[in-house]
Subunit: 334 residues, 2 copies
């Protein structure tokens, strides 16, 4: 557990991003300034329902005022803790691609969690679900956690229109118009990359890459370009990494060989995603990235190489902005 | 180990297909009639180099004549036993896409293996490698085992021209012209399907499918069509299987739900392969399938649905035809 604390005052409320693998929490004052933050590798996948409250208290217990007499502290949670296999299921809010403001309705659909500890008042933000449209324009899809980040983006930029990408194990690409979400698509690229690099025949040919190396950078972009130009050849290009390792006389030896091939694999898998995700975007248009810095950097390199302009936001900022907006609009509710 | 034996006479020679996971052997008389066959799950991946001879003797030992005085029995091996991590490395024969007959040169490039048991005379058929061409028409690629099956096809149909597909973990698509191989491409589809169905988030949504079920058959073909029409959406369609499981009201419950989604996944992954492999084929042209019956059937359904005509050959027949041709053309060599 990592803690950075300055909580001489009890927080006005607590924001929690509770994903599949990790739990992150922030203590905020009445002006939404962060007065403490903490995290632990206690993600939803590793917890039975009855273990969530204890895991949360391990991380935020020190921030809570003594129970007797005082009001409980508001804890707003987004992410996989609200999945069916999580703490308490927070039913998906269906995306309405029509005129209504789906993100603006998140705060009205919070799921309260009954806790043993009276110092807590926990509520979970719903995920979004999207049903397939008759015209095939949208497909079945779901998100949990990213809706809060998108709401944070809209809180900061109320009339935002354009494409937003949230990289990750299951990357989300959302389309926003005048601050309203009109549709989204999930790409399994992150998980695909993990499976291929850790568990497939390719694992013998790979080493961690570093895009600061010019040759690895070039191999990455070659992978991007190939997958975008000929996505139908993807599973052939994947085996081609193994064949190159066996045959290509131009490859260096040792770790640099595996790193070169690793960069190519990363490019191929992300290139397939970009082929699908950018097909409806105008050339040169802007893509907003929300996510972890390292992964966003990898996306930025590819997107800028393909002529797009990129804005980047840290996901912690967007989570706090999104949960903050929900917190303040729901303060009055019982 | 499974054995079917009728070896009252010592075999004239023995054919062995030694893959990553299994070892299959056939005892043949002087007219190449099968007089016994046997197999064992003793593939290359599970054997250290010094364990190969023992594994082979476990399977074919009963077929060998007593050592004293008699000539050793010819054992011709194709497949992964000749890989660098196998028994003895049988260097790849480079594919020459020009005028020369690459498959016809396999018999001249056998790698002899020194055995402790004097009753054996073991030789390993080389795999084929393909170097990237300057014009980008061919890419780096390798095969081990399939070259023998292709040579078997040519032994049976000397002037064969057209596309040949050998389904498997790493499916091979070869182009032959007048009995000569001009190029080939490996698709990792089989391994990709295994990774996705066993190790990814999708595993929770899947059950073994049965294409004899009309709805599963339709889901399979829908996956084929979608991947061929929009290969760039593959990693989105993959996550879509999870989302459908959560949201699609038309899906049945229980095992039939997972089977429907499993059929769709199978279709998506094979459809991506077909998108890449058939892009250069004329509509309605013939595809020869060589492989295991169940898997070939799955390919046949998809290919016929897409308007191709299909010929099917059992891989054992092609291996025996290929090794038989090599055996008889190399009998005279010392």
């Amino acid at each position: 557990m990592s803690v950075s604390t300055n909580a001489t005052l009890a927080p006005a409320w607590i924001a929690v991003d509770w994903g599949s693998s990790n739990l992150r929490a922030w203590a905020l004052d009445a002006d939404d300034r962060v007065i403490a933050e903490a995290s632990a590798p206690r993600g939803m996948l590793g917890l039975a329902p009855e273990a969530f409250e204890g895991a949360l208290l391990e991380v935020i217990g020190d921030w809570l005022a003594p129970a007797a007499g005082s009001r409980p502290t508001e804890v707003l949670v987004c992410g996989m803790a609200g999945a069916r296999q999580g703490w308490v299921e927070a039913a998906y809010l269906p995306l309405d691609a029509g005129a209504t403001d789906t993100l603006g309705r998140l705060g009205g659909r919070l799921t309260p969690v009954t806790t043993r500890d009276a110092r807590l008042r926990v509520r979970i933000v719903p995920g979004l679900c999207q049903h397939a449209s008759q015209d095939g324009g949208e497909a079945f899809d779901v998100m949990r956690g990213e809706e809060t980040q998108l709401f944070g983006l809209v809180a900061r930029h109320p009339e935002f229109s354009g494409a937003v990408c949230l990289p990750g194990t299951h990357a989300k690409w959302a389309r926003l118009e005048a601050g309203r979400i009109t549709g989204f698509t999930t790409f399994m690229s992150g998980e695909l990359y993990q499976l291929l690099s850790r568990d497939s025949v390719l694992k013998h040919s790979l080493h961690a890459d570093d895009l600061a190396d010019a040759a690895q950078h070039a191999a990455y972009l070659e992978g991007i370009d190939i997958a975008m130009a000929t996505p139908e050849r993807l599973s052939a290009e994947l085996f081609g990494i193994r064949a190159r390792d066996l045959l290509d006389p131009r490859l260096p030896v040792g770790e640099r060989r595996g790193a070169r091939l690793g960069a190519r694999l990363s490019g191929l898998v992300l290139g397939l995603e970009l082929a699908g995700a950018t097909v409806t975007l105008a050339p040169g248009s802007r893509v907003v990235l929300i996510g972890a810095e390292t992964l966003c950097h990898r996306y930025r390199i590819a997107l800028e190489h393909r002529g797009f302009t990129v804005d980047e936001h840290a996901n912690a900022d967007m989570i706090l902005a999104g949960l903050g907006r929900i917190h303040h609009t729901t303060l009055a509710t019982p």
